[in-house]
Amino acid sequence: MTQFAQVVISGILVGGIYALISMGLNLILGVVRIINFAHGEFLMIAMYISFLLYSTWGLDPYVSAPIVALALFVFGWLVHRVIIQPILDTSATVKIFATLGLSITLQNFALMMWNADYRTVQTAYQTTVIRMGEVAVSVPRLIAFLVAVLISLGLFLFLKYTLTGKAIRAVAMEKRAAALAGIPVKRIYLLAFGIGSGLVGLAGSLLMPIYYVFPTVGTLFVLTAFVVVVLGGMGSMFGAFLGGLLIGLVEALAGVWISPGLKEAVYFAIFILVLLFRPSGLFSLGKGSEEVGLK
């Protein structure tokens, strides 16, 4: 029984990490309707910035998190302005190649700058756990999870109640009508891409005490993030959050009940079922969102 409780808690915590990474991707996918293949590399860049702030000035990753988020916001803004904006009206293939190219470029840029070495930060709380009887809860993972909860809540409120948030939603739903209503679509795109990147910046900072950074670290997370986004429903923040938790949980349980080697197979099987029966995702915004990024 304690083992079961431990598995569930570990699964939910790692789900929080998936959710954290997926929310930025989801915003970009849902609003700008671009499949950003470089999302994992954005995470990698964020982790490197966090690491450099730590190694140069001794800034704790949690302390530097807002700086990293801001840096990534600016980075995302620039990427959108320089690379994405000019190709927005082209075919899906062009967009895919552009972001895929960006992903490869960033990986090799990192390799050139920082070698292939694995960089880690050393903090006092790194492997601290809270013990509840036999069940252990890792503190950095718990923090990442709580932040994921706060962000999904914050984003939800932002999108629901602020004027900018409403404009973002309007653009996501129907960009032509939004433009007719006087919403500056281009600026909203920039903003959404910036916020999406900023979120992944935050995710990178929170991951730094748990994981390590190297040039291809993004590839470990990005596939799962895409699955989470599609599973949860594109454009839905709660969808991304719950999708993340679901995959984390499925992975952990499959790892114990079936085999750790097969846990990915199990969640991909579930993913295929969802695609078959509910192609627009579990919490989708409606029909047609399954073709996001391809039209």
């Binding site: 083992q3 431990q6 598995v7 570990s10 699964g11 790692v14 990490i17 090799n108 390799l111 070698n115 292939a116 070495d117 694995y118 960089r119 880690t120 050393q122 790194q126 492997t127 756990v129 252990a136 890792s138 748990i210 994981y211 390590y212 190297f214 040039p215 291809t216 670290v217 590839t219 470990l220 997370f221 799962t224 984390g248 992975e251 952990a252 349980l253 499959a254 790892g255 114990v256 085999s259 750790p260 080697g261 846990k263 990915e264």
Partner: protein
Amino acid sequence: MKRWLSFLLTGLIALTTACSGSPAAGGGGEKEVLQIGALYPLTGSSALLGDESYRGAELAVKLRNQNGGVAGGKTVELVKTDAPDANAAQAEADRLITQKGVKLILGSYSSSISFAASEVTERNGVLYWELGAVSDQVTERGYKYVIRTNPPASHFSKIEIDYIKDVVAEKLGKNPSDLRIGIVHEDSLYGTTVAEFVKKYAEEANLKLATIQPYNLKSVDLSSVVLNVKEAKPDVLIGVSYLNDAILFWRQAKELGLDVPVFIGTGGGHTMSDFQKALGKDVDGILNVDFPQYEINKEYTPGLDDFVKLYKDTYGEEPRSGHSLANFMGTNVLLDVIDQVGDIDPDKLREAAMNYKLEPGKSATGWGIQFDEKGQNKLGQPYVHQWIDGKLVVVWPKGAALKDVTLPMPKWSERQ
């Protein structure tokens, strides 16, 4: 028209051959340059150890050229080539042979790269000199032009089981047949190969297998692996991991309170200095079977200190793992053989290699050299190391050992 074209082509081919051979034919004062292809993954996910391996070969060549070159003053030049995956390895090997005209390729750190590239070299009658890839199949295919200086994966598993039988059982005060063995391994070729051999040798030695836990290398959560091992309560846990999963496993083992009396890693991540940097003091006590590292009985490994000094002078840092050392040792053997033959001729080189003998304890790794029919070196073996005060120290076999092993590992609750 056709004839004219064929003339032109013949001319072109003649010209290219002349060009590639021109240093030899060229000016009398010029030193002759012997080119060797060097195939390693220098970008992509294996970049770190690929680069580390390449450095070993590079330093061996550098040292030899400084000391007057081979075969009466010929200079050796490595054609550094990046092969991040099997496809690239094949393409690049092809390019090295057809465009650069090399007759000898060394490499390659990764078994999948070695497989792919040696297919191409075998077909073209080019010698493939393997210095670091461990899959048994590299030499087991019985290819004529493949020679390997490092020990294969099965030796790692063999040493692990021998060590458990001969040393660990006594240290834990148990009969070998009462010991419960667990395996955690990543499920790519490397992990599954080693795990299969561990299983085989453990059964032969009558050791009990308590649990086998495979997992995906790209996993970002190993809590289920840790919890399954915790349930199985093995006395000895054998791990086969790359770096990211090794770090993750140990962090989660600590978080989830997994205590094992003895842990034996199988090279890979458990060897790396980045592993120690990431985990700090928590690495102490972990055993690791791998190529020789640097904390070793120096009398058994002549030339090791010079290598480390040269490494630091050249790259401005300590060696990042023993991969460079193993590549250095193997490249030295190759250069000796070239020195004897006097030129790069695959058939002659192979023959000379077959007659090349070196006793254990006479090289920078302590390995001896004696190649079998399949081109596999019989006298190289991995050593058992233990992390002691943040350093990976050789503890077995006796000749190479620098310190005594301390077992069992302290429990997490007893550590500071």
